[in-house]
C-alpha cells in the first residue's frame, strides 16, 4: 500500500447521520470511510476481532429483499463492534400483513433501535425512512438505485491494491440498467479520480448514463486491453429481462469475460465481482479463482468497510470525538 498517495485526499470529520448513497458524499468523506476501514481491517487480523465501539447500541438489519452475503456481513460487522444486533427479513415481517413500511419502521424504532440497515426492492425506501426516523439509516441496497457499502468496499479493494484510484481505468461490465452496485461504483470512482467505462449489451445500458461522466461501449474488445480493473456484474435472466437479451448462452458468448478475452488485458488487471458469481456466464470459472481475482478480498473488505460506516455514523450521532486509531 502506498500510503503517501492514499492520504493525498484529506480526511474530514464525519457528520452525517445516515449513509444513503455515494452520490451525495464528497471525495474527502469517502476517504474518511476508507481510512477508517483500514484501521478496522487491522482489527480483523487480530486474535480478538472485537472492539467495544458500539457496546450498548442496537442495530437492526431490516432486509425486505433476499440477501445472504450483505446481511451476514452487516450482522458480523455489528457484532465485531459489540453492538446488539438482530435481523428481520421480508417474509418474516408484518409487511405481508399489509402494514406500511412507515409503520413497521416506526415500530422497530420504538424498541429504541439506534441503527437500521435496510435492504429494499424499491429505490428511495431508505431516503423515505430517513425523513421520519431518528435512528441512523444505512442503505444496504435500494432497488436499482444505490448499494453504497458495496461501492465503498469496491473502492477500498482497489485502493488497497493500487494505493490510489486517481487515473485508474475501471471497466464495469454487464447489467448496468438494473444494477445499484454499478451506480454506487460510478459515483465513488468518479469522485476519486478514476476513469470509468461501462460495457454491456445496448439493452442493459440505461439512458443518460454518459451524463455521469462514464464512457459507454458494447464491445468487450474496446475496453479489456485498457482496463486496470474489470468489475463484473451478476447477470440475471428472468422476469422482464427475457426481452432484454435472448439467453445466458448468448450473453456469455458476446459479453462474458473469458480466458481468451483476458489475453489482451494488462497482466496485473484486477478482476472484481460483487457476488454471487454465475460461473461461465459473466465470468469464466477459472478467472473467478485465478490470480487476478480479488473476489474474496472484496468480501473481507466488506466487513471492514461496514464496521467503519457503523462506527462513523454512531460517532456522529453521539457527537463524540474519540478517534479509533
Amino acid at each position: 500500500m502506498v500510503e503517501a498517495e492514499a492520504d493525498q485526499i484529506e480526511r474530514v470529520k464525519w457528520t452525517r447521520p445516515h449513509l444513503l448513497g455515494l452520490e451525495e458524499l464528497s471525495a474527502q468523506e469517502i476517504m474518511t470511510i476508507l481510512q477508517t476501514a483500514r484501521s478496522f481491517k487491522g482489527v480483523l487480523g487480530r486474535e480478538i476481532k472485537k472492539v467495544p465501539a458500539l457496546r450498548g447500541r442496537t442495530v437492526v438489519n431490516f432486509f425486505m429483499e433476499p440477501s445472504t452475503r450483505t446481511r451476514t456481513s452487516f450482522e458480523l460487522a455489528a457484532k465485531r463492534l459489540s453492538a446488539d444486533v438482530m435481523s428481520i427479513s421480508g417474509s418474516a415481517s408484518s409487511i405481508v400483513k399489509g402494514e406500511t413500511l412507515r409503520d413497521t419502521a416506526q415500530n422497530i424504532e420504538a424498541l429504541q433501535v439506534d441503527m437500521l440497515v435496510i435492504r429494499h426492492s424499491e429505490a428511495g425506501a431508505p431516503h423515505f425512512l430517513a425523513k421520519f426516523l431518528n435512528a441512523s439509516i444505512i442503505n444496504a441496497g435500494d432497488g436499482s438505485h444505490e448499494h453504497p457499502t458495496q461501492g465503498l468496499l469496491d473502492l477500498y479493494t482497489i485502493w488497497e491494491k493500487r494505493g490510489s484510484l486517481d487515473g485508474l481505468h475501471v471497466a464495469i461490465l454487464g447489467d448496468i440498467l438494473f444494477s445499484r452496485v454499478a451506480r454506487s461504483d460510478i459515483w465513488g470512482l468518479k469522485k476519486l479520480g478514476a476513469k470509468v467505462t461501462v460495457c454491456g449489451p445496448p439493452t442493459l445500458i440505461p439512458p443518460g448514463i454518459e451524463r455521469l461522466g462514464v464512457e459507454v461501449t458494447h464491445e468487450l474488445g474496446d475496453i479489456v486491453p485498457h482496463a486496470d480493473v474489470i468489475n463484473l456484474l451478476r447477470i440475471q435472466h428472468e422476469r422482464q429481462k427475457a426481452i432484454l437479451f435472448p439467453s445466458v448462452g448468448e450473453y456469455a458468448r458476446f459479453f462474458g469475460l473469458t480466458s481468451e478475452r483476458l489475453k489482451d488485458a494488462k497482466k496485473d488487471v484486477i478482476i472484481m465481482h460483487p457476488g454471487p458469481v454465475n460461473r461461465g456466464v459473466e465470468l469464466a470459472s477459472e478467472l473467478a479463482d485465478g490470480p487476478n481475482s480479488v473476489i474474496l478480498d472484496q468480501v473481507t473488505n466488506g466487513l471492514a468497510v461496514r464496521m467503519a460506516v457503523m462506527f462513523l455514523l454512531n460517532r456522529a450521532r453521539m457527537g463524540g470525538e474519540d478517534e479509533l486509531d
Binding site: T100, A123, G124, R183
Partner: protein, 444 residues
C-alpha cells in the same frame, strides 16, 4: 369564504367596473355584468331594485373557469375526496365547472352511477359537475359500455382515464360509435408494454434515481394511433394530459391537416421536470410522469401556438397515508384545482408568453366547445358563471389550507402571481376573497 353566501336575491348579481375578458365574444374592456335569475343579461339591461352589487374595480372578470379533468373520487373514494369537498376545492380555486372522470368505485360505466353523480352534485356540489362515462366496462379495455345510456344520463364525454384501451380495434370502434351519439372521446395515452412498470420518465433521472422509467414513446405511440382514428372517423379525439415533445408535435401536424384532435395540458407538466423529483417525494409522482425540461418547454410552446387548446388539472386526490410510502408503491396523481390558476397565469401570462385572453380561452371557451357545454362564455342568455381574477396578487401555496380532503401537492411553498378571488355559479357567489384573505384560506 367558500359555500353559498347570503345574497339579497338568489341567482342575481351586478358585477361592476371590472375588466371583462370574454374570449368567446372577443371582448376585453372595463364594464358591468348583470346576472338575473342565474342568467347573463344583455348589456344595457336595467338593474332591478334589490340586486346586490359586487365592485370588481381593478380585477379581471372572466367566464367561469372549467376544469375538464378532475377526479372527485365519488362514489367509492370518499376518504380522498367527495363531490362536496372536490367542488369546494374547485370553487376555492376559481372553477365554476368540473368534468369528473369515471374511474370511481364502482366505475361510472352505466347510467346508474351517472345518475348518482348528478343527484349528489345537485345536493352537495358547490360548482357545476359534468360527468363523463367510461368507454369500456369496468375500465377493463375489453367491452364497450352502453354509450347511448351514458349519454342519456348526462355524460359529456367518454374516457377510460387512468387506463388506456390497448386493443386498437376496440378503440377504433369506440370512436366510431361515440360519434353517432355526439360524445367526444378523451384518451389517457399509454402503451402498457412500453410503460412497463415505470414510475418516472425514462431518461437520465430514472437512471440516477434507480427508478423504473416510462418511455415517452408509451405516450407517443397511442397519440399517433388516436390521430389515425380521429382522421378515419372524422370525430373528436382529445389527448388528456399531454406531456411529451413528440406528442405535441404530432398533434400540431394533425391539426394542421384538419384532423379533429385536441389536447389538454396540466399545471405540473408546464411547471415541473423529472429532475424536480428530489428525495423520492411521492407528491412528484403522477401519470404521465414529469418529463424532461425539453418536453416541458414543448408543452408550453404547444399551448402558446394553439396546438394545445385546453388547460386542465388532472386533480387526483390521494390520502396522506397512501402517498406516504415508498415512491414506487405510491399511487400516481396530485391535486390541481386550487393551484392551477396561480400556476397557469403566472407561468403563461405573467411570464409574457401568452396574451391574457388566450389563457382565459383555454380555461373557458375551448373546453366548453369541445364538450358542447353552455358555459364558458359571458354571452347573454347563458348561465351566470363568472370567475374574478386578481392578476397582481402574490400567493404562497399552503397545502394545509386546501379544501380538498387530500394534501398531495408538490407546490407547497411556491410563490406565484395571480389568483382567483371570487367564484360565481349561476349568479351566486360561492367563493369570495376579494377583500384580501390569504390564498387558500380555509372555508367558513
Amino acid at each position: 369564504m367558500v359555500g353559498r353566501m347570503k345574497q339579497s336575491m338568489k341567482g342575481s348579481l351586478h358585477i361592476r367596473n371590472g375588466r371583462i375578458v370574454d374570449p368567446s365574444r372577443e371582448r376585453d374592456g372595463v364594464g358591468d355584468l348583470l346576472i338575473l335569475d342565474g342568467v347573463i343579461q344583455p348589456d344595457g339591461t336595467a338593474v332591478p331594485a334589490g340586486v346586490e352589487t359586487l365592485d370588481a374595480g381593478g380585477y379581471v372578470v372572466v367566464p367561469g373557469l372549467i376544469d375538464m379533468h378532475v377526479h372527485l373520487r365519488d362514489p367509492g373514494g370518499r376518504g380522498k375526496e367527495s363531490i362536496a369537498s372536490g367542488t369546494a376545492a374547485a370553487a376555492n380555486g376559481g372553477f365554476t365547472s368540473v368534468v369528473c372522470m369515471p374511474n370511481t368505485n364502482p366505475v361510472a360505466d352505466n347510467g346508474g352511477i351517472l345518475a348518482y353523480i348528478q343527484r349528489e352534485s345537485a345536493k352537495s356540489g358547490v360548482v357545476r359537475v359534468f360527468p363523463t362515462g367510461a368507454m369500456t366496462v369496468g375500465l377493463q379495455g375489453e367491452q364497450m359500455t352502453q354509450i347511448g345510456e351514458l349519454k342519456g344520463e348526462g355524460a359529456v364525454a367518454l374516457t377510460d382515464d387512468g387506463r388506456c384501451i390497448q386493443n386498437n380495434e376496440l378503440m377504433r370502434r369506440v370512436v366510431q360509435y361515440a360519434k353517432h351519439f355526439g360524445l367526444p372521446v378523451l384518451d389517457h395515452c399509454e402503451d402498457y408494454d412500453l410503460a412497463a412498470k415505470g414510475v418516472v420518465n425514462e431518461g437520465y433521472w430514472s437512471t440516477v434515481l434507480g427508478l423504473p422509467g416510462i418511455s415517452p414513446m408509451a405516450e407517443d405511440l397511442i397519440v399517433a394511433r388516436d390521430i389515425l382514428f380521429a382522421k378515419q372517423c372524422d370525430w373528436d379525439v382529445h389527448i388528456q394530459h399531454i406531456s411529451t415533445a413528440g406528442a405535441v408535435e404530432m398533434v400540431r401536424q394533425a391539426r394542421k391537416a384538419g384532423i379533429r384532435i385536441t389536447a389538454e395540458a396540466t399545471p405540473h407538466h408546464i411547471a415541473l421536470r423529472d429532475e424536480d423529483i428530489r428525495d423520492y417525494d411521492s407528491n412528484f409522482k403522477m401519470n404521465p410522469p414529469l418529463r424532461t425540461d425539453a418536453d416541458r418547454q414543448a408543452v408550453i410552446d404547444g399551448i402558446a401556438d394553439g396546438t394545445i387548446t385546453i388547460l386542465a388539472t388532472d386533480h387526483a386526490p390521494h390520502a396522506k397515508h397512501e402517498k406516504q410510502v415508498e415512491f414506487g408503491c405510491a399511487p400516481f396523481g396530485i391535486l390541481g384545482l386550487e393551484t392551477a390558476v396561480p400556476v397557469y397565469f403566472d407561468l403563461l401570462y405573467k411570464s409574457g408568453r401568452m396574451p391574457l385572453s388566450a389563457v382565459v380561452k383555454a380555461l373557458t371557451q375551448a373546453p366548453a366547445e369541445l364538450l358542447r357545454l353552455e358555459v364558458g362564455t359571458l354571452q347573454a342568455g347563458r348561465p351566470g358563471d363568472v370567475t374574478i381574477l386578481d392578476l397582481e396578487r402574490e400567493v404562497e401555496i399552503d397545502p394545509e389550507a386546501s379544501l380538498s380532503k387530500s394534501r398531495n401537492t408538490p407546490f407547497g411553498g411556491w410563490r406565484l402571481q395571480g389568483d382567483a378571488v371570487a367564484t360565481i355559479v349561476g349568479g351566486d357567489l360561492v367563493m369570495n376573497r376579494m377583500a384580501g384573505d390569504r390564498f387558500l384560506a380555509p372555508g367558513s
